[in-house]
Amino acid sequence: MTSSTPAKLILEDGTILEGVSCGFHGSTSGEVVFNTGMVGYPESFTDPSYKGQILVLTYPLIGNYGMPSWEKSKENIERFYESSHGQIQGMVVAHLSLDYSHWNAKQSLSSWLVEQKIPAITGIDTRALTKRLREKGVMLGKIVVEQDVVLEDPNIRNLVADVSIPQPVTYENGKMRIVVVDTGCKNNILRSLLARNVTVIRVPWDYDFHALKFDGLFLSNGPGDPKQCTATIAHLRKAIDKKIPTFGICLGNQLLALASGADTYKLKYGHRGQNQPCIDTRTGRCYITSQNHGFAVDTKTLKSGWKELFVNANDQTNEGIMHESGLFMSCQFHPEATPGPTDTGFLFDQFIEMVKQHERKF
């Protein structure tokens, strides 16, 4: 019943943690990061922003409610996942629940990991591991089951290219047309936009959307270092010049900042969880947000006309920017949630409102 294939988690700094293989029996390497959310592992595991990362979950009991089906909505979007397959490089947990109980579950997490070919390790003191990552910063690591692998840094690759779509896809659902630049877009961003009766034209990360007719531009989340997305940034600069109403999330926030001339940097251990407080600088209100990012916008480098839209109330890092024209805004956190709190879903409404006010076809 219990798998007893030993597995090791080996970190860049030489730390070796021994556990048991609980997913695909294979080895893998990636950037080791931790997430403090207590629910939402199916959503996290299929979030393209985790591309190249070995995810440590700090909540010790994972898999309790199994994994849902791959059922799709009429728009051909997976109903219960954030993309069409598992995105994480590997998984590290304290206790994987082999049994599960939920009306919506179709299989156990363990069998899902096997199916998705994702190596995983259980039996790890994830708290001790998290403290190490907090103190030393995120680092490379590998899960080793039998065959060893070499450590590879995913951030030197253009991860966005790996997770974007090959061809544009259009989801007809209304008169207003929004171009979504897919740099690793989560399904719930599409669902959130479609729920507001707009047509979504989802384009690849390096696609020149200026040839299209549309009303507003949306920049999605995505993995890795934003500076790798040179093509996207170039298209974005042009969009800014053309005053196209734009809203970005997560990587989108960083790309908008880079396009506006500001700079980004890598955080020591990032923000990954569902409990990050962010203050809206317009109102002083504080919202609980869902986050998953390793890079951040350097507020000090914002050019004139740009200001901070949201600030992290814990460490005062940037959580969003806006332009004084009211045409461009972005947030570092995930208003689309899944996983996480839904408090900031209103930003999608504000985006639609923004597009309406500047209605004109580009």
Binding site: S101, Q274, A313
Partner: protein, 1069 residues
């Protein structure tokens, strides 16, 4: 604008449904206000609480939390604001009444935090449902009824079974499921006596029960601090359920659907501060219903606070003052913001503690009404680890999930109809081969939880198997066993080893627990506080301690480990927490680093800022040794937390731990009834005729010789477990058997029971055998009533000086003989200046906070100083105080259906109050009014068994008649007093069904006091008066059930008027 002076209402005596959690919440509130330099006035008659300690509030009133008294305090103190959310339902109800009567307006007192309007909307179930429907939040189909016929019609419409809920009630009192019309009729009649309105609802049995703790500030920032999932499905009151935090079986979509709904609700009502929302969630879809909103701090919020480390009550108080969440700091990290939602990297399990076996004739079934008297919280990295810890923490002798001596009836029935021991029925079912699916079907418990139980059984089988094959335990198996929460003792039983042998083996293998910290952010930010637990998950590759166990770098640091009191239960509650906290504070003041060990989430001792380190862990021999070895403290304090730590004294001493204060060998001499009785004989101190027995025959022979009644007393017990007065041979044999079950290891002593004696108690502090402080109290009730249930008077008002001198002299002799250092308590029988010792406890007693506060001398601080060699003698006079203190018990009989509300040698009260007055009558009246007695205005019903009793009360009944009270009596009682020329109307007994009937009069509010008692010292209801007492309790009519008590009460109301009861703060006495 911030207020200058705020009045805070406490929650009064501890009762079922409203316990120690409000000491925690009000204490945090007072701290929060103090930081802002706001003057505080506290009204709370619960003298044993930490919140009523000197310096906590600027003014403390030990007065009943009723409109009359609170208005008096407002009139006198002129506060500009009031806080109602910290003292439970008692404070909230009083606040609502103050508002309705226009008193708050009249004195210009504004309500801080949640507005009254919002409270009213959440408290009236009909308005509440209407409000939620208006914002498209689902509530159970339901309608309000004010009359029985409405209720029946609604039930027809919704369809049976239906759920009955009572408005304005704490702990769901009067609520229940009605399957038939007849059942409904009966429940409705009863519910409508205590509440003007009830609700008939759609029955959601089998749905998951989920709670959220939600916080909102005046700027509309909202957070949910914690969610919790009930192990037991809906239908069992959340106070009766095993509860897990965070939820374990909810998906992201369910978790955040309910979270979003919670925030929508708190916004709609405009709550400022904290509120608790209870949901029902369909286990087969995402359908939900909002079941309840509590717009105040609650038991669940106390649990959430301890479960997450988020100081809910403190934050709620700050929000009440107008602060916004982002302005406040996370007090654990001291760097991040308080506007966040804690991320846990562990889980907690709360298990209720019941004491149903203490009440004869009480059903063991649990349901939608609360019956539990306390709770424990266990922390672990897995459900299995936490569950087994939690079951041991209950202090009921459970070894864990298995290996317990639990008597179960028909298994299918036990599974289907939950009792306080259902979890063991689940175990039994699995051991008998039932599948998880079958048990899920019978119990409604989610399969995920059942699988966890099954896994513990699987591991137990592995242990047995390995032992059978290899004759010992291998390191991997032992580690696994520890990770699954097995104790060394339990493992020892499985592999024929002693607890210490298993411990040695474990250490030999290097299997040791790791210290983990609760930090609110799952290690994302470093924590600055030492809120700790131990786990075996984290010791696979050497232990990863979050906090260095021993500050080696600073050798001058001396630390002390204080053992707390464990779960609140009958006989041990908030008073021992008061003692533990004050001991820790005194140690801190003396320069020690303090380490607190306790696991009761309803306490102040488990606030992480009470001590330098808090271990939220088991109070077991194994865990004390673990922590002692890790921390290497200079000493161990066992005398503050009541009987649980006291019982560990001798074993810890033998294991080489340094116990400060009285030597454990001497503690044993007092606890062991045989040794103690022998000691008294040696000291020529009189005691009731006694004998240690080995056989029932011997006992019977002795009892006959001593002339019944006799008292049976096992050793090492608190609250008189299995203590009984028996009158004949059969009873004796029966109770001896019961006593042997309670404490098999310790001998049982039978002694002559002295009737018509007075009982006195001394609470004292010893310093190497010298008594340095003492306080003698007398009981109003004659001996035979457990001291925890007795009404105590300090200083004694009706005791000869000679008697007091003798008491003091004997105390000095015993203190010297046992070379007592620290707190102790001795109980005496007194009759005509003859004094006999009946009991001696070399630890803090229940009455330490009472005597400390009445005498304004902290006995615990003094005792602590003696224990660390810094004692001093206090010049303290007990006898010429200008005022009197009275401590009165609080009973929770209305929650314990079927129990006879009777006083006996076994304790039954759940809490107490203590009030001050210029004389006995004033203090007494305040105290009894604070326990729910009301001043009779209409009629008084008498139902007294036996002419001897009736005669004893004759003069006083005449006094009542003279005072103009309308008197009623049951047949013989009425006959007796009529024949003595007293006007009294005869009422038929309840079961006689003829009018004029007692029940009709009780139901129709014609009677506002019942005086009823069986023959004195009778262990069973000899005269059939139980039914009257029960009817009084069920109809919410105050009851006096003791002759001496009745006399004092009648004298007091003859002597005083309501206006004579002075509004006077503690500081003014």
């Amino acid at each position: 604008m911030k207020p200058k002076k705020v009045i805070i209402l406490g929650s009064g005596a501890l009762k079922i449904g409203e316990a120690g959690e409000f000491d925690y919440s009000t204490s945090q509130c007072l701290k929060a206000l103090k930081e802002d330099s706001i003057q505080t006035v506290l009204v709370n008659p619960n003298i044993a609480t930490y919140q009523t300690s000197a310096g906590m509030a600027d003014r403390i009133y030990f007065l009943p939390i009723t409109v009359d008294f609170v208005e008096g305090v407002i009139k006198k103190e002129k506060p500009d604001a009031i806080m109602l959310s910290f003292g439970g339902q008692t404070a909230l109800n009083c606040g609502l009444e103050l508002e309705r009567k226009g008193i708050l307006d009249k004195y210009g007192v504004s309500v801080l935090g949640t507005p009254i309007k919002a409270i009213e909307l959440t408290e009236d179930r009909h308005l509440f449902a209407k409000e939620l429907q208006s914002i498209n939040v689902f509530v159970p189909k339901s309608k309000a009824a004010h009359h029985a016929h409405d209720a029946l019609a609604i039930a027809e419409e919704i369809g049976y079974p239906v759920m009955i809920r009572v408005a304005f009630a704490l702990g769901g009192k009067g609520s229940g499921v009605a399957h038939t019309k007849q059942e409904l009729q009966r429940m409705v009649d009863e519910a409508l006596t205590s509440s003007p309105q009830i609700l008939v609802e759609e029955y959601l049995g089998g749905w998951k029960e989920i709670e959220y703790e939600v916080v909102r500030d005046a700027k509309d920032n909202c957070i949910t601090v914690c969610n919790m999932e009930n192990f037991d499905p809906l239908g069992i009151h959340t106070g009766e359920s095993i509860v897990v935090a965070p939820s374990q079986t909810l998906s992201n979509s369910e978790y955040h659907l309910l979270r979003e709904t919670s925030i929508k609700v708190i916004r709609h009502f405009g709550i400022v501060g904290e509120c608790n929302i209870q949901f029902a969630l369909d286990p087969r879809s995402e359908e939900y219903r909002v079941i309840e909103v509590n717009a105040r701090l609650s038991r669940s919020s106390a649990l959430a606070s301890k479960a997450t480390g988020y100081p809910l009550a403190y934050i709620a108080a700050k929000l009440g003052l107008g602060y916004s969440l982002p302005e406040l700091q996370n007090s654990i990290t001291k760097s991040t913001c308080a506007c966040f939602e804690p991320a846990l990297d562990y889980l907690v399990i709360k298990i209720p503690r019941w004491d149903l076996h203490k009440f004869k004739q009480v059903s063991k079934k649990i349901g939608s009404e609360m019956k539990s008297v306390g709770e424990v919280m266990s922390i672990g990295r897995t459900f299995e680890e936490a569950l087994q810890k939690g079951l041991r923490m209950l202090g009921m002798g459970y070894k864990g999930l298995t290996g317990n001596d639990v008597e179960l009836g028909d298994l299918a029935k036990e599974l289907k109809e939950p009792t306080d021991e259902r979890i063991f029925a689940v175990v039994e079912g699995m051991q008998q081969g039932m599948s998880v699916a079958e048990i899920n079907k019978l119990t409604g418990i989610d399969p995920w939880f059942l699988e966890r139980i099954r896994m513990i059984l699987v591991v137990e089988a592995e242990i047995r198997k390995e032992y059978q094959h290899a004759g010992k335990l291998s390191a991997p198996t032992l580690l696994k066993a520890k990770q699954y929460g097995f104790s060394d003792y339990h493992l020892g039983r499985l592999v024929a080893k002693t607890e210490l042998e298993v411990r040695e083996l474990r250490k030999h293998y290097g299997i040791l627990p790791s210290i983990k910290q609760i930090d609110t952010l799952a290690a994302e930010y470093p924590a600055q506080t030492n809120y700790l637990y131990l786990t075996y998950h984290g010791c696979t590759q050497g232990c990863h301690h979050d906090v260095a166990p021993l500050e080696q770098k600073n050798k001058s640091d001396k630390s002390m480990l204080v053992l707390g009191s464990g779960s609140y239960r009958i006989g041990s509650s908030v008073e021992f927490d008061w003692c533990s906290v004050h001991c820790a504070l005194a140690l801190q003041k003396a320069g020690y680093k303090t380490i607190m060990l306790n696991y009761n989430p309803e306490t102040v001792s488990t606030d992480y800022d009470t001590s330098d380190k808090l271990y939220f862990e088991e109070l077991s021999f194994e865990r004390v040794l673990d922590i002692y070895e890790l921390e290497q403290p200079e000493g161990l304090v066992v005398s503050m937390g009541g009987q649980i730590p006291n019982n560990l004294a001798l074993r810890c001493h033998k294991a080489g731990l340094h116990i400060i204060g009285t030597s454990p060998v001497d503690i044993d001499s007092a606890e062991d009834r045989y040794k103690f009785s022998k000691l008294l004989d040696e000291l020529s101190i009189d005691q009731p005729l006694w004998k240690e027995l080995s056989t029932t025959e011997e006992a019977i022979k002795f009892a006959r010789k001593a002339n019944y009644p006799v008292l049976i007393r096992p050793s090492y017990v608190l609250s008189g477990s299995a203590m009984n007065v028996v009158f004949h041979d059969e009873e004796l044999a029966l109770y001896l058997e019961k006593a042997a079950k309670v404490s098999a290891e310790h001998p049982v002593v039978v002694s002559k029971f002295e009737v018509n004696s007075k009982e006195l108690e001394i609470d004292a502090v010893g310093d190497h055998g010298k008594v340095v402080a003492w306080a003698i109290s007398e009981h109003i009730e004659n001996a035979g009533v457990h001291s925890g249930d007795a009404t105590m008077v300090l200083p004694p008002q009706h005791t000869y000086l000679e008697t007091l001198r003798r008491v003091k002299h004997i105390t000095e002799k015993i203190a010297a003989a046992l070379s007592i250092t620290g707190p102790f308590n001795i109980q005496f029988l007194a009759k005509d200046n003859h004094v006999k010792v009946i009991e001696c406890n070399l630890r803090a007693s229940r009455s330490f906070p009472f005597v400390s506060k009445v005498l304004k001398q902290n006995f615990i601080e003094l005792a602590t100083l003696c224990m660390i060699g810094k004692g001093k003698k206090i010049a303290l006079s007990n006898l010429d105080l200008d005022y009197v203190g009275v401590k009165a018990p609080q009973f929770s009989y209305s929650r314990l259906k079927g129990a006879d509300p009777l006083l006996s040698v076994e304790m039954a009260s759940t809490g107490e109050v203590g009030c001050l007055g210029k004389d006995l009558h004033e203090a007494f009246l305040k105290a009894v009014l604070a326990t729910g007695l009301t001043w009779p205005k209409k009629g008084i019903l008498l139902s007294v068994s036996g002419d001897e009793n009736r005669y004893k009360l004759l003069d006083h009944i005449r006094k009542l008649a003279d005072l103009g009270f309308k008197l009623y009596g049951t047949e013989h009682t009425a006959e007796f007093y009529s024949s003595h020329g007293i006007q009294i109307k005869m009422l038929h007994k309840v079961h006689e069904k003829t009018e004029p009937n007692t029940l009709t009069y009780l139901l129709h509010g014609k009677i506002d006091l019942v005086i009823s008692m069986p023959k004195e010292y009778a262990s069973v209801d000899s005269g059939g008066t139980k039914i009257v007492r029960r009817a009084a309790v069920d109809c919410n009519v105050p009851l006096i059930n003791n002759i001496q008590l009745a006399k004092v009460f009648i004298d007091a109301i003859a002597d005083k008027k309501m206006d004579d009861l002075e509004i006077k703060a503690w500081e003014e006495y």
